[in-house]
């Protein structure tokens, strides 16, 4: 559970970020497949980090068929032996989705940033100390991911990519901490005015504090 504040997006928001719908379309690109096969392959491809229940797969397949993105081999009940094939509309849908940029324009709610901003104004709290405890935490996390990579990454390309993504993300947070550290230090040297001016008034549009 201790991972929770930082370790979020890929696992928990999987449904939102990558729909099962598109994942199944991607698997069907390789050729016609049975429902059961689809589920197994899905779990293999995602490094078994994200389990999927059977009902979810079949519901999604039915919707896809309804929308004309896949075709079934005609068997009436949606059993594990029913075969599926992607249609040309399905191919177009998949290609369009792959190229659609993720929604990065509105940054996620960032707990760490908020904590640091608040720490600046809480008397008796050393911001650098706060930041260091986060930093240590982050590095420990990265150590664990690195250890995973050291043992497993050679064997599983998909997993290695996921680990790299985690590492780079965590590193980015640490780098923000380092930069913030330097900025706060300089501000303290330049004069206290800039520190005590209250929470920064950010442009509404950025919506960091939404």
């Amino acid at each position: 559970m201790r991972l929770w504040p930082y370790y979020t997006e890929y696992a928990t928001e999987f449904d939102r970020v990558m729909s099962v719908r598109h994942a199944l379309l991607a698997l069907l690109c390789e050729g016609p497949k049975y429902g059961l096969q689809l589920r197994q392959e899905f779990e293999e491809r995602t490094g078994e980090v994200w389990p999927l229940n059977v009902g979810q797969v079949y519901t999604t397949l039915q919707r896809l068929e309804r929308d004309g993105l896949v075709e079934s081999d005609g068997a009436s009940d949606a059993g594990p032996q029913k075969g599926f094939r992607i249609t040309s509309e399905g191919m177009e849908e998949l290609a369009g989705w792959l190229r659609t940029p993720p929604d990065l324009s509105s940054p996620p709610r960032d707990e760490l940033v908020i904590k640091v901003l608040i720490a600046l104004h809480v008397p008796g709290i050393d911001v650098a100390d706060v930041m260091q405890s986060h930093r240590r935490y982050l590095v420990e996390l990265m150590q664990e991911w690195t250890r995973l990579k050291e043992y497993a990454a050679d064997r599983d390309l998909g997993f290695a990519l996921v680990v790299d993504a985690e590492l780079f993300r965590l590193e980015a947070v640490i780098r923000w901490l380092d930069a913030a550290d330097g900025r706060i230090k300089r501000a303290a040297v330049d004069g206290p005015a800039s520190v005590t001016s209250g929470l920064p008034r950010l442009p509404k549009k950025a919506g960091v504090l939404r």
Binding site: T12, V49, V139, Q143, R147, L148, R175
Partner: protein, 240 residues
């Protein structure tokens, strides 16, 4: 089995108003088989810590013990002997002597220590083979890629019976793939019993270490907890 021990080491550069405290009362112990990363922003005294640990510089106060022997009582030549027998260095970008082939670069510390050329060359070739550079052994440094050069430097730092491997941003000038390869080699060396110290500002690099020590304004301010097994991470992620 402590290989490197630094006791309350301080280092002051310059004098008078230009005086700078590079290190203040730093204590650090590195055991055999352990890889320690020293992390800190630039100017935090990382490199000074490394050069003092490697006997390239003398601390202003405090003691450094390598393999149990204090450096303070040693003559210049004694320290040089210690370096060629027990300490291996890997620097960021400039590591190899031009004019010597990869194998000759690796065998140089052995030859300096009086081991005959043939024997030293055999040991060097073996070390390079181990790092997958066997067929590059007779190339000159300017015929090698950056990653290969850094790997040769690691081979040189561990060849013979070295106990202490000191690396200063060893993958700083490399892309991430080559940097990862370099760190894997350093880890492998540590697994064989070498005590390693890596100084860096790069968290990815530091995360390869067993223990990360945070340096700030010449002081050690924090360090990471001992690492749990790798399984813990997966376990935690499976039930959010």
């Amino acid at each position: 089995m402590t290989v490197l021990e630094m006791r309350d080491v301080s280092k002051v550069y310059g004098e008078g108003p230009a005086e700078v405290d590079a290190l203040r009362d730093v204590s650090l112990t590195v055991d055999s088989g352990e890889l320690v990363a020293v992390m800190g922003p630039s100017g935090s005294g990382k490199s000074t810590l490394l050069t003092i640990a490697g006997s390239l510089e003398q601390p202003t106060r405090g003691d450094v013990l390598v393999g149990g022997s204090p450096l303070s009582g040693m003559s210049r030549d004694d320290r040089a002997r210690l370096r060629r027998r027990s300490i291996g260095y890997v620097f960021q970008d400039f590591n190899l002597l031009v004019g010597l082939t990869a194998a000759e670069n690796v065998s140089l510390p052995l030859e300096l220590d009086g081991i005959h050329a043939g024997e030293a060359r055999a040991a060097a070739t073996a070390a390079l083979d181990e790092l997958g550079l066997g067929e590059r052994a007779s190339r000159y440094p300017d015929e090698l890629s950056g990653g290969e050069r850094q790997r040769v430097a690691i081979a040189r730092a561990v060849v013979g019976d070295r106990h202490l491997l000191l690396a200063d941003e060893p993958s700083g000038a490399l892309d991430s793939a080559n940097g990862e390869a370099v760190m894997r080699l350093i880890r492998a060396a540590c697994r064989r019993g070498v005590a390693g110290v890596v100084v860096t500002h790069d968290a990815q690099l530091a995360s390869w270490a067993d223990r990360v020590v945070f340096l700030r304004d010449g002081r050690i301010v924090d360090q990471t907890a001992p690492l749990p097994g790798p399984e813990s991470l997966l376990a935690s992620s499976q039930n959010p």
